[in-house]
Every structure is written in structure tokens, then in C-alpha cells.
């Protein structure tokens, strides 16, 4: 018996060594941790339950039959993050370069199936050279099995991808279909085709970092939702994100004890809006002053800065925030910001996360580059996302809410539940000067008259009261009491239930 136990022990130790000490050292030399070390940092200490430790591939071509390491390049199982269950797979670059084989894919599929059945998020730590070429179509089949599960799990359980090494070719499409992608700066990259192929096909000379590094994907492509300095920081921040998320779509978002007054007054918000309507201010200040303990987990911070998206807590419970940012492009809606916010709103709606919308929007960005690139359909995504959302929605208009953008930003008409406005709000079809020039076209030659008309328009519409008279604004509130007002509104909406007609699924303008 003792020998048998020893045998298990030996095999386990063999498996834990992955690709051997030399490869582990090489991984460390690059500032990267091993697959198992990453799991240790991601999960609560000692909580990891590993499965399929002894899985090995079945490939017999190209001498592969002589190299059948335990685990087959991926570590899978489940554990807890602050006591809440999550499933995890962590590709092991030290074992066959973390390449995806039939068996490697099966391991991932196994825990994904468990996750959907048992209702807990899947977190994938990606560090893989790609498909295992020796296996041919078996490897491709493996990828597709993962893709299919990503798709089925979408909207059922949160799926988070952390790119911690290479992720190229078909491999990118699994993370692409998860809810969040995070990258590690300088040590990770993602692309469909690498620099060598790019050079051959298009003659472009580009480095892997330029083509698909963290900076590219967080700033230019918006493929990634965030980037972190190193493995340790990335995994700590993923833990922090998971603290905000429900485990599955039938569960309310989590609540944790909070140390902040619900009715905290922020007198400084009374002066947040500058006297000059064309002066910017930082919407983040409002977000952090409304949030419990000033804690804001921003998503896609480096992309489309004219809209802010992220998570806060109110009375300990997660709330998703979408906010126009006047500091960037005056907070205008454009293709990028519409796409960014639409995806975030849909995530929140999938997972029963209430949405707080803070509005200061001068309209949609005009211009050929916007129109040629389809701002109509991209803008419609955000409109669609808000309109289909059934989670509690509270909206605060701080300043401008002009034109179609007013409608889009979780207006009353899109079934937002509580719509507040600050006294500084201006709800109108457009800015006063533009409106005067259209209504009083005949006076265009006379700047004095136009100014008078503009003043008249401003007096009439540059306030929240016309909208409040119609009930489109439920209440005009003091900026200083925004936190209390918003928190109470969400408290009131805790049992919100709204039914929509049966459909297979909608046809959002993709």
C-alpha cells in the first residue's frame, strides 16, 4: 500500500514540475510565472483542486509518442477567490510550449462544462505557442470545441481571459469571445497573424509588441480591457474584478460589507460643473464621490476616453457605471465610445448588474470618417443595448444632454427606471447657438439678433425643467446629494422585474 501511495506522490511531483526546472527558470528569467504559480496567486491560498493532472496526449506522429508529459501543457481545476468558486485553466508554456492539442483542449472543455453546469466563472490564463502542429486537425478541432463552449457559456457565467504570454492565430478567438481580456505589459501579445506573415503578405515590418502588445490592444484595437505591469499585479487585479461579479446569470451581484455612509453629502459636487459650458471637468470625480469608498474598477481605461465604463459599489453591491467624460472630446459619442459602452451595458444586463449612467453629452461626433465607418450602426449598438436592458437603471444628467445622444444615454424613453438631473442640466435638441441659427435662418447675417435668439433658446431649454415638467426627468436633484439619491433609487429597484416578449435572440446591429 505504501508503495502505491508513494507512486501517486512521485507521479504528482513529476506533473508539478511541468516542463522541468530548466524551462521553469527560463520562464522566470522573462519575468513570467509558471502555470501553477499563477494559479496560486489567482486563487485563495490552498483552495485549488486540480483535475486531469495525469492527462497526456495521444499523438504518435513525428516522434511525439516519446514525449508525453503529464498535464499536456495546461493545468485545470477550480478553487475560490475570497471564498467564491471559480474554475480556472492555466496554460503551461514550459510543457510543449503550452500548445493546444486534442487532450489539452478536452481538459479545458471539461472544466468549462462544469462551470456552466455548476454556475461559476471561468478564468483562463493564456500562455501558449498555439495549435500543436504535430496533431494537425485534431488540434483545430480542440480549439473549435473550446470556441463553441465560450459561446454557449456567454451570458451564463462570466468568462475572463488573462493573456500572459503569446496568444496567436486561432488561439485568439477563445479570449475574443470571453467577457474580459486582460494583458500583461511587455510579456504578452495577441494577433491573428504574426509579424513574419505580415511581412511576407503586406511588406509591413512590425514587431510583435507593436502588432499585438498590451499597448496596442488597450489603446488602439480595444481588444483588451486592461493591461497590468506584471503577472503578480494582473492576477491580483483579476481577483479584485471577480469580487464585483456575480458567479452566474441567475444570481444577483455580490454584496460585501462597506464602510461608507449611504447618505454622505459631497458639497464639492455643487461646484463640479464649471460656469463656462464649454469648459471640461473630470467625470471621474463624480464617479468616485458617488461610489462606496471611492472605489472604481475601470474597464477599457485607455480606449475611447470620451466615455467611462467600470464597476463601483453602492451599499456594498456592484453597480456598472457608464459616463460621458467631458475631459476627452467634450464627452461626444462616436464609433469607439458607442461600441465600448454598448458592450459594457450588455455585460451588466447579462449578469443582473444595475447600471448607473452619468450624462454630459454634446451629441454624436460629425464627420466623414465617422459616417464612412458606420457611426449609424455603431451608435445604434449603444441605443440597442440600453433599450434591451432589463436591469435596474438610474441616470443622472449633469450638464448637456443634446439631441439623439440624450435619447441614447439611458433616457426615460429607453425604460431607465429613475432619471435624475442636476440643476445645471441642459436637455435640448442641440446647443443654443446652433438651434438659433436653424430656427432663425433669416437673421443669419445679424450676429446681434442671432445672439438674442440663442439667449432665448438657452433660457427656454438650457435647464432640466422642461423635461421635468413632462416627467422625462423624475426629479431635479442637488449635486451634493447625488450619492444618497442614486443609492436610494437602486435600493428601491432591488426587486425590479421586467418581462420582454419571447424571442430566440435579438438582432443587435453588429
Amino acid at each position: 500500500m505504501k508503495d502505491i501511495l508513494q507512486e501517486l506522490q512521485d507521479r504528482r511531483e513529476n506533473a508539478r514540475l511541468g516542463g522541468g526546472q530548466k524551462r521553469i527558470d527560463s520562464q522566470h528569467a522573462k519575468g513570467k510565472l509558471t502555470a501553477r504559480e499563477r494559479i496560486e496567486l489567482l486563487l485563495d491560498e490552498g483552495s485549488f483542486e486540480e483535475y486531469d493532472t495525469f492527462v497526456a496526449h495521444r499523438c504518435t506522429d513525428f516522434g511525439m509518442e516519446n514525449n508525453r508529459p503529464y498535464g499536456d501543457g495546461v493545468v485545470t481545476g477550480w478553487g475560490t477567490i475570497n471564498g467564491r468558486m471559480v474554475y480556472v485553466f492555466s496554460q503551461d508554456f514550459t510543457v510543449l510550449g503550452g500548445s493546444v492539442s486534442d487532450t489539452h483542449a478536452r481538459k479545458i472543455c471539461k472544466i468549462m462544462d462544469m462551470a456552466v453546469q455548476n454556475g461559476a466563472p471561468v478564468i483562463g490564463l493564456n500562455d501558449s505557442g498555439g495549435a500543436r502542429i504535430q496533431e494537425g486537425v485534431d488540434a483545430l478541432a480542440g480549439y473549435a470545441e473550446i470556441f463553441q463552449r465560450n459561446i454557449e457559456a456567454s451570458g451564463v457565467i462570466p468568462q475572463i481571459s488573462v493573456i500572459m504570454g503569446p496568444c496567436a492565430g486561432g488561439a485568439v478567438y477563445s479570449p475574443a469571445m470571453t467577457d474580459f481580456i486582460f494583458m500583461v505589459k511587455d510579456t504578452s501579445y495577441m494577433f491573428v497573424t504574426g509579424p513574419d506573415v505580415v511581412k511576407t503578405v503586406t511588406n509591413e515590418i512590425v514587431t510583435a509588441e507593436e502588432l499585438g502588445g498590451a499597448s496596442t490592444h488597450t489603446r488602439k484595437s480595444s481588444v483588451a480591457d486592461g493591461a497590468f505591469e506584471n503577472d503578480v499585479e494582473a492576477l491580483a487585479e483579476v481577483r479584485r474584478l471577480v469580487d464585483f461579479l456575480p458567479l452566474h446569470n441567475r444570481e444577483k451581484p455580490p454584496v460585501r460589507p462597506f464602510f461608507d455612509e449611504v447618505d454622505r453629502i459631497e458639497a464639492s459636487l455643487d461646484t463640479l460643473i464649471p460656469d463656462n459650458p464649454n469648459m471640461p471637468y473630470d467625470m471621474k470625480e463624480l464617479i468616485t464621490k458617488v461610489a462606496d469608498e471611492g472605489d472604481f474598477y475601470e474597464i477599457q481605461r485607455d480606449f475611447a476616453g470620451n466615455i467611462l465604463t467600470g464597476f463601483i459599489r453602492l451599499e456594498g453591491q456592484t453597480v456598472g457605471v457608464v459616463a460621458n467624460q467631458p475631459m476627452v472630446l467634450a464627452g461626444v459619442l462616436d464609433i469607439d465610445s458607442s461600441r465600448k459602452a454598448a458592450r459594457f451595458v450588455r455585460f451588466c444586463d447579462c449578469f443582473e448588474i444595475p447600471i448607473l449612467t452619468l450624462v454630459d453629452v454634446p451629441g454624436f461626433l460629425p464627420g466623414t470618417s465617422q459616417e464612412y465607418n458606420g457611426v449609424i450602426k455603431h451608435g445604434a449598438k449603444l441605443l440597442f443595448a440600453y433599450g434591451e436592458a432589463t436591469v435596474p437603471m438610474v441616470t443622472v444628467i449633469t450638464r448637456k444632454a443634446y439631441g439623439g445622444a440624450y435619447d441614447v444615454m439611458a433616457s426615460k424613453h429607453l425604460r431607465a427606471d429613475v432619471n435624475y438631473a442636476w440643476p445645471t442640466a441642459q436637455i435640448a435638441v442641440m446647443g443654443a447657438k446652433g438651434a438659433a441659427e436653424i430656427i432663425h435662418r433669416a437673421d443669419l447675417g445679424d450676429p446681434g439678433k442671432i445672439q438674442a435668439h440663442a439667449d432665448e433658446y438657452e433660457d427656454r431649454f438650457a435647464n432640466p425643467f422642461i423635461a421635468a415638467e413632462r416627467g422625462f426627468i423624475d426629479e431635479v436633484i442637488q449635486p451634493r446629494s447625488t450619492r444618497r439619491r442614486v443609492a436610494k433609487a437602486f435600493a428601491m429597484l432591488r426587486n425590479k422585474s421586467r418581462q420582454t416578449p419571447w424571442k430566440k435572440h435579438n438582432n443587435i446591429p453588429l
Binding site: 475560490t80 475570497n82 506584471n230 460585501r256 464602510f259 461646484t271 472605489d295
Partner: protein, 666 residues
């Protein structure tokens, strides 16, 4: 007594005057520019009159506008505060003509003392020792260089109408004399509308000590002892105290009596200040007389118990002084730190913007002393580019100097200012500087002790350990809270361990925490223990802890795996990790910040006045590259090292934000 007075000023000094007026039962009128519509002084005053656009030369220093405001409100007297019109004889004359009392000295005295050249002559005639220098006016840069050479370097180039460091330059050679003359002249023209310049010998190893005098219109005069204001940056006072740790009773008496004599010689009647340079042998030289209330007057009030503003109002009302020299004893010690919206990590360049957070320490008793905070701002208010970037004057008083310093340290630690760069870390560092503690400073203190600029504070091992203990205890609270989230897997909850590794300032502390109801005992690997108590909860911006019963106040921001903690001027990134996390963190590669050494970045929001170089030009270390105007000050940006200009991205008239690239080098 007056029923109503107008305060022809803004900011903290307007608020300060209003407080005393209110105490005396006098109604107050504030004036304000467009930029000050929501300012605190407007809020505090009984009435407020709008006087024009933000720029001071279109509002606060336009005599007609102030006169209109007086007419409009029926104010019987005007307190001018400091700066602006406070030492403008034309303003005093206009008031006189209108039959409105000026809460300040007679016009004659202002005229006599207002001009630095005239005042020096009068002082000489009154047998007050003065600094050698050239008394005439200087026409051009060549003449400035010639005269400087005759006096002998170093020389001080000053605007005749100057004050508060504006229009003032020290030159150590011909080139600097030429450059200093030009900048002084420009600044003087911009700030005072008077570009007359003079030059005098710059006394080395000097201390700046000034005497507060108070005279009435009946020939009575007293001195309220001295203030030492030696800690200055670019001739702008930063730290002031009363009394001076340097003066002996004999010198104090001699300086005081001479000051009163000088005041009487010009028929002075109000509060005034006679400034001296004092050398290492306690020889003192008359510098100038300020015929107004000084910024730093609170320290004198704190050690004498006299409300100087009240005295000024009473004198202006024609009352004789009710105090005699014998009443004026020195009680305890007072220190003032001026908090400026100037970023110490960027060469003290002005930082303007919104005060997203402004929470000063509570005024009143603290530790062994008391706290006083004179301010004109509030949370959510704006530090604008139009005026002096002062945020507040934080003063402490205690029976002894060391106690007053200690109270100041604690007050600074709990002073929260966010949204703009400010010099709080710097003054906190000064409070811990051995030379300051020993009272051994000269006006060159900042230049000599921080030759490379302020690079932040490094805490000593013992203090670091206290911070580490507090961080470990705080982190445990935060981590335990995280485990209380809903949706946990029953019976498989996370248990927060007791061992934590704290990394801070390059040091690592292995700690073990034994928490109980009142706090935690933190044990270190060397066997030592520290007891941490305090009621910090996650999200609190200020942690008031005690470590082994000694107070430790920390400003707290959450960062990944730890906190950013600020205390005693130090700005610390503190990571608190489990032993395993720490072990794995050690494998991470330290990343170096991007190289900006070949770029000239705009250090402050401002306007480019001049680009001094061209593309392709070779520049020497220290060579002027461009001039930026911000906060009415011309700032010359210089080359940090030898190089060749590769590209210039901005030109004169461009308005730049912080960190915008002005030029690039090869």
C-alpha cells in the same frame, strides 16, 4: 467705530479680515472678479460687489472699481489686505479724497517707505544700518552689468515697486545680471506697472528677520517682536516663525527700538513691518519697510495675543493704542507653513486646478499646542491661474519651539489636499530637517539643503517599521472584509493568514499579526513587536493610528496589493503580501520608467513667451531654452545637459499643458 468696511482683496486675507470685523460687530463688503464669483471671501462677507474680469489689473487693482464699490455699499473704511492696492499711495489718496478711511498708514508713510530707494535713504538718515548698493535707477542691461560688477557679485536685482519675490533676481555673474535685469524688468512691468529696477549687494549667509510695529495717529508706537522668515524659495517666504531662534534679547530690543523710531520718523500709524537681514554675528541691516499687514502676521498674533487686524481698524478709527511696550511679552512659539499650489516634485512649479479634496486639520487644540489655519479656499474650489497660488497658511503654537514643530508635523500629516500639486510634502520635510530643528537656517536654506530640488522624503528605518506595522494591520482589516462577500462556498471560506510581508521603500519586513479587539500586535522577524491601534476602516482617506502609543497619521490610497501611504512628507508605495505572494513577486522584473531625458517637457500649464534656441543648435548645460509664463511669473527652462536641439514643437503664444513636449534633443 465703523459700521461697515470694504475689503479690497481676495483669498485668505480677505477672509481673515472679515473674521475680525465680524468679531467687532462691523459689517463687511467683499469685492470679487469673475474668477472669484464662488470664492470663500464672497460667501463670508455681508455684501459682495463684482468688480470685473479675472486679471487683477482689470479688477482688484483698478482703483476706480474699488471706489465704485465703496460708493455703492456705503463702506466707511477699506482694509486693503496685502498685495494689490495695499501699498499704493494713489489708492490711499483716492480714499482720502472720498472721505473714506484707509485701514493702513498715512499716504506720506506709504510713499516714503513704498519705494525701496527712498526708504533706504530715509533709513540711512535715521541711522539705521543699510546694505551697500546702487541707489539710482538703472537704464539698461549693460548698465546693470556694469553696476553689478562695481558692487561685486553676488548682487540682488530688485524691482523698485516689488515685493513678495516678484521682480527679484540674484545674479552671480555678468550673464546672470543681464538676464536677471531683463526678467525683473518684465515681471515688474507686468505685476506692478512700474519697471524701475535697482541693484544691491547680496549679503551671504543672511537670515531674514523682521520686526512687527504698531503705531497710532497720536505718536504712540510699539514693536510686537520679530518673525524669522529665513526659509524662502526664490525670495518667497515658505516657513515663518516667531520668535526667531537666533536673536538674543539685546538684538531684539535694538531692532525693535530702531524699527519704532523709523516708523515714527515717517509718521507711521497702523501695523507695519520692518525687514532686516541679519548676518551670522547678529549684525542687522535694514532691508525695507512693508506698510501693510504681512502674510505671516498670524505667528505674531499667536505669541502676543494681539489681533493685528483689530488694532489696524482701531488705529484707522483714530483710537490711541491701548497697549504699551511692557504689555508685549513673548508667549510660547508659533510656526507658520505656507501651503502653495506648487508641485515640489516639479521644481515647485505652479499647479492650478480644482481642489477635489480639501480637508484641513481642525483648528484649536492639538497635542501640546494649538492649530490655526488661515485659508480662502474650500473643497470643490479652484486654484486659478490669475492669482497667488496660496492654498492656506497653517500655523501652530505651543509653549516651546520643539513642541510647536511637533504639533505642526501632526497637523500637516492630517491636512488633505488633492486635485492639484502642492508643497505639503516639502514643508513636512523641512519640519523634520535637522538644521531647521536646530534653528540654524539662512535664506539660502532651500537652495543649499535641496540643491537638486525636492526629491521626496526617505523615512529612516525606525519610522519605516512603524509605517510597515500600520500597513500590515490595515491590510488585514481590508483582506478580512474581502472574505465577507456574499456568494461564498459554505465551509470553504478563505481564512486570512497572520503572516504578511510588507515591502516599502526598498525594504522588506516579515511580519506576523496578532489581532485583538482593540488593535493588533505586529511581530517582526527580528523579534521586535509593535502595537498598532486605530479605527481605520477600508476607504478611509486618513488613518489616525498609534504605534506603540505614538501617533501616526497616514493619508491612505488603495493600490494593488497594498496602499499608497503619505506621512511626514514621504510618499510611499507599500505592498503587503502573503509570504508566497512576496516570494513570487520577487521574480518580477523591475521596469524602468520611459526615458524622457531627451525631451523638454512643459513642467506646468502656461504660456510660451519665448523660445531661445533653434533646431540644430548646440546647447550647454544650464542654457536657457525657453521662457514660460504661469501665475504671472516668468520661468526660464534650462538645458539639463549638453545637447543638440532636434525638433521644436511649440512656439511663442502657445498655451501648453503639463508634460507636453516643447522640444526634442538628438
Amino acid at each position: 467705530m465703523f459700521d461697515k468696511i470694504l475689503i479690497a482683496n481676495r483669498g485668505e486675507i480677505a477672509c481673515r479680515v472679515i473674521k475680525t470685523a465680524r468679531k467687532m460687530g462691523i459689517k463687511t463688503v467683499a469685492v470679487y472678479s469673475d474668477a472669484d464669483k464662488h470664492a470663500l471671501h464672497v460667501e463670508m462677507a455681508d455684501e459682495a460687489v463684482h468688480i470685473g474680469p479675472p486679471a487683477a489689473n482689470q479688477s482688484y487693482i483698478v482703483i476706480d472699481k474699488i471706489m465704485d464699490a465703496i460708493k455703492q455699499t456705503g463702506a466707511q473704511a477699506v482694509h486693503p489686505g496685502y498685495g494689490f492696492l495695499s501699498e499704493n499711495p494713489k489708492f490711499a489718496l483716492a480714499l482720502e479724497a472720498a472721505g473714506v478711511a484707509f485701514i493702513g498708514p498715512p499716504v506720506k508713510a506709504i510713499e516714503a517707505m513704498g519705494d525701496k530707494i527712498t526708504s533706504k535713504k530715509i533709513a540711512q538718515e535715521a541711522n539705521v544700518s543699510t546694505v551697500p548698493g546702487y541707489m539710482g535707477l538703472i537704464g539698461d542691461a549693460d548698465e546693470a552689468v556694469k553696476i553689478s560688477g562695481e558692487i561685486g557679485y553676488p548682487v540682488m536685482i530688485k524691482a523698485s515697486a516689488g515685493g513678495g519675490g516678484k521682480g527679484m533676481r540674484i545674479a552671480w555673474n555678468d550673464e546672470e545680471a543681464r538676464e536677471g535685469f531683463q526678467s525683473s524688468k518684465n515681471e515688474a512691468a507686468n505685476s506692478f506697472g512700474d519697471d524701475r529696477i535697482f541693484i544691491e549687494k547680496f549679503v551671504t549667509q543672511p537670515r531674514h528677520i523682521e520686526i512687527q510695529v504698531l503705531c497710532d495717529a497720536h505718536g504712540n508706537g510699539v514693536y510686537l517682536h520679530e518673525r524669522e522668515c529665513s526659509i524662502q524659495r526664490r525670495n518667497q517666504k515658505v516657513v515663518e516663525e516667531a520668535p526667531s531662534p537666533f536673536l538674543d534679547p539685546e538684538t531684539r530690543k535694538a531692532m525693535g527700538e530702531q524699527s519704532v523710531a523709523l516708523a515714527k520718523a515717517v509718521g507711521y500709524a497702523s501695523a507695519g513691518t520692518v525687514e532686516f537681514i541679519v548676518d551670522g554675528d547678529r549684525n542687522f541691516y535694514f532691508l525695507e519697510m512693508n506698510t501693510r499687514l504681512q502674510v505671516e502676521h498670524p505667528v505674531t498674533e499667536l505669541i502676543t495675543g494681539i489681533d493685528l487686524v483689530e488694532q489696524m481698524i482701531r488705529v484707522a478709527n483714530g483710537e490711541p493704542l491701548s497697549i504699551t511696550q511692557d504689555d508685549l511679552k513673548i508667549n510660547g512659539w508659533a510656526i507658520e507653513n505656507r501651503l502653495y499650489a506648487e508641485d515640489p516634485y516639479r521644481g515647485f512649479l505652479p499647479s492650478i486646478g480644482r481642489l477635489t479634496r480639501y480637508r484641513p486639520p481642525a483648528e484649536g487644540p492639538l497635542g501640546a499646542g494649538i492649530v490655526r489655519n488661515d485659508t480662502g479656499v474650500f473643497e470643490g474650489g479652484e486654484i486659478s491661474m490669475y492669482y497667488d497660488p496660496m492654498i492656506a497658511k497653517l500655523c501652530t503654537w505651543a509653549p516651546t519651539r520643539l513642541e510647536a514643530i511637533e504639533v505642526m508635523r501632526n497637523a500637516l500629516d492630517s491636512f488633505e489636499v488633492e486635485g492639484i500639486g502642492h508643497n505639503l510634502p516639502f514643508v513636512a520635510a523641512v519640519m523634520d530637517h535637522p538644521k531647521f530643528i536646530a534653528g540654524e537656517m539662512t535664506t539660502a536654506f532651500i537652495e543649499e539643503e535641496y540643491p537638486e530640488g525636492f526629491e521626496g522624503v526617505t523615512l529612516a528605518e525606525a519610522e519605516l517599521k512603524r509605517v510597515a506595522a500600520a500597513a500590515a494591520a490595515m491590510n488585514r482589516v481590508a483582506e478580512i472584509r474581502r472574505t465577507r462577500v456574499t456568494g461564498r462556498l459554505g465551509n470553504h471560506e478563505r481564512r486570512v493568514g497572520s503572516d504578511w510581508v510588507v515591502s516599502v521603500q526598498g525594504a522588506q519586513f516579515e511580519t506576523s499579526i496578532d489581532a485583538d479587539h482593540d488593535g493588533a500586535t505586529v511581530s517582526f522577524a527580528d523579534g521586535s513587536k509593535l502595537r498598532v491601534e486605530g479605527n481605520w476602516t477600508p476607504g478611509d482617506n486618513l488613518a489616525r493610528m498609534t504605534v506603540d502609543a505614538v501617533p501616526l497619521v497616514l493619508k491612505v490610497d488603495k493600490i494593488t496589493q497594498g496602499f499608497r501611504l503619505r506621512t511626514r512628507g514621504a510618499d510611499l508605495k507599500v505592498n503587503v503580501r502573503s509570504p508566497r505572494q512576496a516570494e513570487l513577486s520577487a521574480l518580477m522584473i523591475e521596469k524602468l520608467p520611459p526615458d524622457t531625458s531627451r525631451l523638454l517637457l512643459c513642467p506646468m500649464p502656461g504660456l510660451i513667451v519665448k523660445i531661445n534656441v533653434e533646431v540644430g543648435q548646440e546647447v550647454q548645460e544650464g542654457q536657457a531654452l525657453c521662457t514660460i509664463e504661469a501665475m504671472k511669473m516668468e520661468n526660464i527652462l534650462r538645458a539639463e545637459r549638453k545637447g543638440v536641439v532636434a525638433k521644436i514643437n511649440a512656439g511663442p503664444g502657445d498655451s501648453l499643458a503639463v508634460d507636453e513636449v516643447i522640444m526634442e534633443f538628438e
